[in-house]
Symmetry: C2
Subunit: 404 residues, 2 copies
């Protein structure tokens, strides 16, 4: 309801598609910037629009803690709260509960944990997470899953994967229950001031039609991945699929192999979202293997540490060799950092702990990945994804002292 996926062209296993949501369309493959706490760190929504971002992420765990999903609902939902009118996907917090929270107790019912912010006791169940994600009002909502460390044993991986599917069924049941118990035109509880023309009108935003995506787990175990995909598909006709538990320390070859396994096991007709990926090389290798959507904190997090993605590989702006470098961060980039400022200036900002530096670095890096996905899409439309990707990766992986 309100969601669809059309494939405009295929090239090998790669696909150029259009994913439609109630808040607009997403040309795929697409990179989704991560807006954990209702903000893509350091960036303004206008920056994201200007660089062509179609869809961004929010995080249910973080937003539940701050400012609270009830507060977000009261303010009209996440789109309105953060001033982003395009599609949003919320992660369920499954990863955060298992990586950030302290003193976790996992049962079949759910996960009891202490907030990493203030130590308060919290309890996440599939039902509670669905309520949270409904309060936030994102277009795509991820199931609450049982996340385990990478490199877990097959026994642990199976246990977590099977629990995740049982939790998926509960997520689906709760979502349907909530959709029926909350009327379609539930206005926000707050009156919005009439003299704020740029805020979208509230009535059309709540409640949303939301697409629940399951998450295929199974570690680096081929048969577990296949079983999980099969079991998930038998539960429901899903609007799209998340692929979790990769890019968590495993070998690249193992990761790429699992993507191929899951690509085979999932319907070609629906979008595949590879969670937490990633770096430029991983984006391209995954696109070649049938992935449509990506998210990763690397561009912003690494940007805030001075790392810069360029066509010729990564550099770190704090190096003294850039002190008087008049070139842009990436001479081939047309983002608003690269068309206006020099490496010398951005380096100065960064080593002086100036916030504008963090913003320009993040802006460039996010633009870089958005642009990379766009270029890959064009290559698929042109029918030369493999050769284009090979050439792109070859240049990226070759650190040329002359080029950089």
């Amino acid at each position: 309801m309100g969601f669809s996926f059309e494939i405009a062209a295929s090239d090998g296993a790669g696909r150029a598609g259009v994913f439609s949501t109630p808040h607009g369309t997403v040309d795929t493959p697409a990179f989704m910037p991560v807006g954990t706490l209702a903000t893509v760190k350091t960036l303004d929504p206008d920056d994201l629009v200007e660089m062509g971002a179609s869809m961004i992420l929010g995080n249910a765990y973080h937003l539940h803690l701050r400012p609270g999903d009830e507060v977000v609902r009261e303010m009209g939902g996440l789109h309105r709260f953060m001033g982003w009118e395009r599609p949003i996907l919320t992660d369920s917090g499954g990863f955060q509960v298992f990586s950030l929270a302290q003193l976790r107790t996992i049962t079949e019912q759910g996960v009891e944990f202490q907030s990493h912010i203030d130590g308060s006791r919290r309890f996440f169940t599939p039902e509670i997470v669905m309520q949270i994600e409904r309060n936030l009002g994102a277009d795509v909502i991820m199931q609450f899953d049982h996340v385990i460390p990478g490199q877990s044993s097959e026994v642990s991986a199976r246990d977590a994967s099977e629990r995740s599917i049982r939790w998926l069924i509960r997520c689906l049941a709760e979502l349907r229950r909530l959709e029926q118990s909350q009327p379609l035109e539930d206005p926000p509880r707050k009156e919005f001031p009439p003299d704020n023309p740029r805020l979208p009108p509230p009535a059309s935003r709540l409640p949303l039609h939301q697409a629940l995506f399951p998450i295929v787990q199974g570690g680096i175990h081929e048969h577990l991945r296949q079983e999980a995909a099969r079991a998930i598909r038998s539960v429901n006709d899903w609007p799209g699929f998340g692929i979790g538990g990769l890019s968590v320390g495993e070998e690249k070859d193992a990761m790429y192999e699992m993507i191929e396994v899951v690509d085979d096991a999932l319907p070609k007709t629906h979008p595949r979202y590879l969670m937490g990926v990633g770096f430029p090389e991983d984006l391209l290798e995954a696109i070649r293997r049938g992935i449509d959507l990506f998210d990763c904190v690397a561009p912003t997090r690494m940007g805030r540490n001075g790392a810069v993605f360029t066509r010729d590989g990564r550099l770190n702006i704090k190096r003294t060799e850039y002190r008087t470098d008049p070139r842009p961060l990436d001479p081939d980039c047309d983002c608003s950092a690269c068309t206006r400022f020099t490496r010398a200036y951005i380096r100065h900002l960064f080593v002086s702990d100036e916030i504008l530096g963090l913003r320009l670095l993040s802006l460039h890096n996010v633009h870089f990945l958005l642009s990379l996905a766009r270029s890959a899409r064009q290559a698929i439309l042109n029918g030369d994804l493999d050769s284009w990707a090979r050439e792109w990766l070859s240049r990226y992986r070759t650190s040329s002292p002359l080029a950089v």
Copy 2:
């Protein structure tokens, strides 16, 4: 040469003027955002242009330390380095040397000090500061002066004021020497990439015609202020005047009285720059007393601490009462923070230590002061500065629980 000041209208001691510089004009009275380290903290030059900033500040002390004034010169000067094509004023660092640096030794020659960044030994003289400010290439450059704590004795105030005038004479001599020894079309040493269209062309920017402004000191001692103004005027026909040593802890009445004293002692035909001021009420009281230019870190620094200027006084966004407040920071403001976001959202960003929050708060506060100065200018043109200012201050000073 390249500088002029025209008064479009007067109202009492207040003046609406146009200050012309080689990088464009400034409608006065004007607030100048402070870009200490070649960036107005958290803000993008495009933000500043959008909110109508005409002129900004840089600081010779800070830029000498990082990235180094030689680096700025090599990158084509401060305008080009930071991407600001409009007028710039650099403060000489007199205040910073006396407030930030450690282990200072003051002699008639100059000030020996240790950098607050890395403890390296530095020596500032009027001659060295002129070289620094010439390397930076700002339009208006402030003299190097002997700054002393507020509330100093009359003896100390006289000593510092008289030394400042001797240093002023040396500044002027050095500036003239530099202007003659460095040819008018001194191109930057770096070639700039041709494919960076938004960078201004180098040749037209260096070296600049620079206007040296003296600084009238004298503490809160009327006759010292008059003597300083007289002595300064006898040295040269200055293009404008700085007024220092106020808003450093003295009583408001004393500050306003000194402004009146200096207003009488300086020519009406030239711009008066009240350094380090300030808060909304001080801006208006100073404008009524003949001040044309202002600078202050309060909007950005206080913004980064959650303080917000509104027409109804100041508020602090971290208060829980704003947690679900759907109103903009200031319902009467049309800055891009107030037309797009709610207090609830900005509060969430601020308490979550999100950088976008710092930027939106700074953006609003700077816009607030720019807008206040513009409104005062309009009131002068309308001939009702006093009544307009009285009404504005009355509303600002009355904290109404209903209004805020």
